[in-house]
C-alpha cells in the first residue's frame, strides 16, 4: 500500500509530534511547580518562577503554532474519517495542554506569594500526591494518544477518582487551619491549587476521551455520573 497524500500525512505527524512535546513540557512544568511549592528547604526563588514563565511562553507559542497549522491543514487538505477525528482530537488536546501549563505557572506564582507563611505537612502531602497522580494522568493520557491505546485511555477515570478524593479531603484539612489566620490564608491558597490540580485531572480525562473518540469514532464522556464536587466528603 502506498501513501498518496504524503505531504498531508506528514503535516499530521508534525502536528502530533508537537503535541507530544507540549504534553511533556506541561507535565514537567507541573512537576517543577509542585516541587517549588512543597519543598520547605527550597524557598521559591524569583529566577525559578521566571524560568517557568518563560517555558509557559514557549508552550503558548507552540499552542498558537499548532492552532495556526491546524487551520491551514483543515482548509487545504479537508481531512475525512480517521484523519478528521485525529484533527478534531488534536485541537482539543492542544487546548487542554495549554491550560495545564498555565496551571503550573499559577502554582509557582502562588509558591512565591506564600513563601513566608506557615504550612501544614498533611496538606503539602495531599498536594504532592495530587500532583503525582495528575502528572501520571497526563503521561498516561498522552501515551494512550501516542500509541493509539484505547484500553490505556479508559484507565483515566479511575485515576481521576483519586484526585477528586484528595481534593475532597483537602477541604476538611483547610478548615482545621482556622486558629491561625496566616495558616488559614496559606490553606485557602492551597485549596485553590488543589482545585487547579483537580482541573488538570479533568483535562487529562478529556484528552483520554478524545483518544477514545479518535479510535472508536464514537464520542462519549467517561463517567459523566461522577461529576467532581469540591464539597464531596
Amino acid at each position: 500500500m502506498t501513501q498518496v497524500r504524503r505531504r498531508f500525512h506528514e503535516e499530521l505527524e508534525d502536528l502530533e509530534r508537537d503535541l507530544m512535546a507540549m504534553g511533556e513540557m506541561a507535565e514537567s512544568m507541573l512537576g517543577e511547580a509542585i516541587d517549588i511549592l512543597v519543598n520547605p528547604e527550597h524557598p521559591a526563588k524569583k529566577a525559578e518562577i521566571e524560568a517557568l514563565v518563560d517555558r509557559d511562553d514557549a508552550v503558548d507559542d507552540l499552542y498558537l503554532s499548532i492552532e495556526r497549522r491546524w487551520h491551514e491543514v483543515m482548509a487545504m487538505q479537508t481531512p475525512v474519517a480517521v484523519d478528521l477525528r485525529l484533527m478534531s482530537a488534536m485541537l482539543h488536546i492542544n487546548a487542554h495542554l495549554e491550560r495545564m501549563a498555565d496551571v503550573a505557572v499559577n502554582i509557582a506564582k502562588t509558591a512565591r506569594k506564600v513563601r513566608r507563611l506557615p504550612t501544614s505537612d498533611v496538606i503539602l502531602g495531599y498536594i504532592r500526591e495530587m500532583g503525582d497522580v495528575a502528572r501520571h494522568m497526563i503521561r498516561t493520557a498522552m501515551e494512550s494518544f501516542a500509541t493509539r491505546n484505547h484500553e490505556l485511555a479508559t484507565q483515566l477515570p479511575d485515576m481521576d477518582d483519586d484526585v477528586d478524593r484528595l481534593n475532597g479531603r483537602m477541604y476538611r484539612e483547610v478548615r482545621k487551619c482556622d486558629e491561625d489566620s496566616e495558616l488559614l490564608e496559606w490553606g485557602i491558597r492551597m485549596m485553590v491549587i488543589s482545585r487547579h490540580l483537580e482541573r488538570v485531572g479533568d483535562h487529562a480525562v478529556d484528552i483520554a476521551e478524545q483518544v477514545a473518540f479518535l479510535l472508536t469514532g464514537v464520542f462519549r464522556e467517561f463517567n459523566e455520573d461522577t461529576s467532581p464536587d469540591v464539597d464531596d466528603d
Binding site: 500500500m1 502506498t2 501513501q3 498518496v4 497524500r5 498531508f8 500525512h9 479537508t78 481531512p79 475525512v80 474519517a81 480517521v82 484523519d83 478528521l84 477525528r85 472508536t216 469514532g217 464514537v218
Partner: protein, 284 residues
C-alpha cells in the same frame, strides 16, 4: 432480501426522511435493488457480487479507485452496457420490483425512465430546443412541446440563461450550461431516476458547485445515483455512499462493493479499513 413479486412497477418512490426500516413495502422504499450483480466484458469480470439498495429521493454516490467497476454498475441501472457487444450481466437489478434484465423488458423504455448524464457534456449538435425535444418526440409525446421544454429547462436551472436563444446551437453554451442542458434533456422524458457518470469531471469548480446545488434541488423529484472520482463531491452532495474497490484476492482486476452506508458515517467513521484507507489517501 427476499423476492417481492407484488410490487407495482409504476409505484413512485417513498418520501425521503421516512425511516427505511419501518417502511412496509420494500419496493416503495427502494427504487432500485441490486442483488448478486456480476458484470463481464467477454472473459473479464468487471464487477462481482454487488448487493445495493437505492432509496428513493436520495442521492447515492458510487466512489472508488479507477477500474473498481463503479461506472459499470451505474450503466447496469439503465442497461447502457447493452451497447457494448461483449458485455454480460448476471444477477438482478430490480426497478420498483421489476427485474430490468427480465426477458420481456424493453431496454429503450428502461432508459426513458432511468435517465443518464454523462462525463463530458454531450449535447446533440442541434439547437437547445431540439436537444430537449428529441427524447419526448421519439417517445411519442402528445402534449405541448414548448411547455415541456420550458419546464425541463426550469428544473435544470437553465431557463433564465437560455430562454431567449432556444433556437441557437447548444454548442454556443458554456461547459457548465451544456451539462445542465444534458440534465434538462434527461429530465424531459420524465424519468424518476437520474444516473450521473462523473458529471462534473470536465467542469470548472464554480460550474461544478452549480451542478451539485442543482442535484440537491432535483432530489425532491428524482432519485439520483452519481459516480464521482471527487470524494469531496460525494461527501458534499450524497446521502449515501457506496465504496467500491478492486478485489486484490482475485486474479482479474474485478471490482467489489466494500462498504455502503450513510455518507456522514462513511466520511467520519467508516467501518471498513479499506474504505478508511481510500478516503484518507492511504491507498496506492
Amino acid at each position: 432480501m427476499d423476492v417481492i413479486d407484488s410490487a407495482d412497477p409504476a409505484a413512485r418512490a417513498a418520501t425521503p426522511g421516512e425511516s427505511a426500516a419501518t417502511a412496509p413495502d420494500e419496493a416503495e422504499t427502494f427504487v432500485l435493488r441490486v442483488e448478486g450483480l456480476n458484470a463481464f466484458y467477454g472473459d473479464f469480470q468487471a464487477v462481482a457480487e454487488v448487493d445495493l439498495d437505492i432509496r428513493g429521493n436520495e442521492i447515492t454516490a458510487l466512489i472508488g479507485p479507477s477500474g473498481c467497476g463503479k461506472s459499470t454498475v451505474l450503466r447496469c441501472f439503465n442497461r447502457m452496457n447493452d451497447l457494448i457487444e461483449v458485455a454480460r450481466v448476471e444477477g438482478s437489478v430490480r426497478y420498483h420490483g421489476v427485474d430490468l434484465y427480465g426477458p420481456n423488458v424493453d431496454a429503450v423504455e428502461v432508459r426513458r425512465r432511468i435517465g443518464m448524464v454523462f462525463q463530458k457534456p454531450n449535447p446533440f449538435p442541434k439547437s437547445i430546443y431540439d436537444n430537449i425535444a428529441f427524447g419526448p418526440k421519439i417517445a411519442g409525446y402528445q402534449g405541448n412541446m414548448d411547455d415541456l421544454v420550458e419546464e425541463s429547462l426550469i428544473k435544470a436551472a437553465l431557463w433564465t440563461e437560455v430562454n431567449d436563444k432556444l433556437r441557437e446551437s447548444a454548442f454556443a453554451l458554456s461547459g457548465g450550461q451544456q451539462q445542465r442542458l444534458c440534465i434538462a434533456r434527461a429530465i424531459a422524458t420524465s424519468p424518476d431516476v437520474l444516473l450521473m457518470d462523473e458529471p462534473c469531471s470536465a467542469l470548472d469548480p464554480i460550474a461544478t458547485l452549480r451542478i451539485e446545488e442543482l442535484m440537491t434541488e432535483l432530489k425532491r423529484d428524482y432519485t439520483i445515483i452519481i459516480v464521482t472520482h471527487n470524494m469531496q463531491q460525494a461527501a458534499r452532495v450524497s446521502d449515501r455512499t457506496a465504496f467500491f474497490t478492486v478485489d486484490a484476492e482475485r486474479e482479474q482486476r474485478t471490482g467489489v462493493l466494500v462498504e455502503f452506508g450513510e455518507t456522514a458515517t462513511m466520511f467520519t467513521r467508516p467501518t471498513q479499513q479499506k474504505t478508511e484507507d481510500y478516503i484518507t489517501g492511504r491507498f496506492g
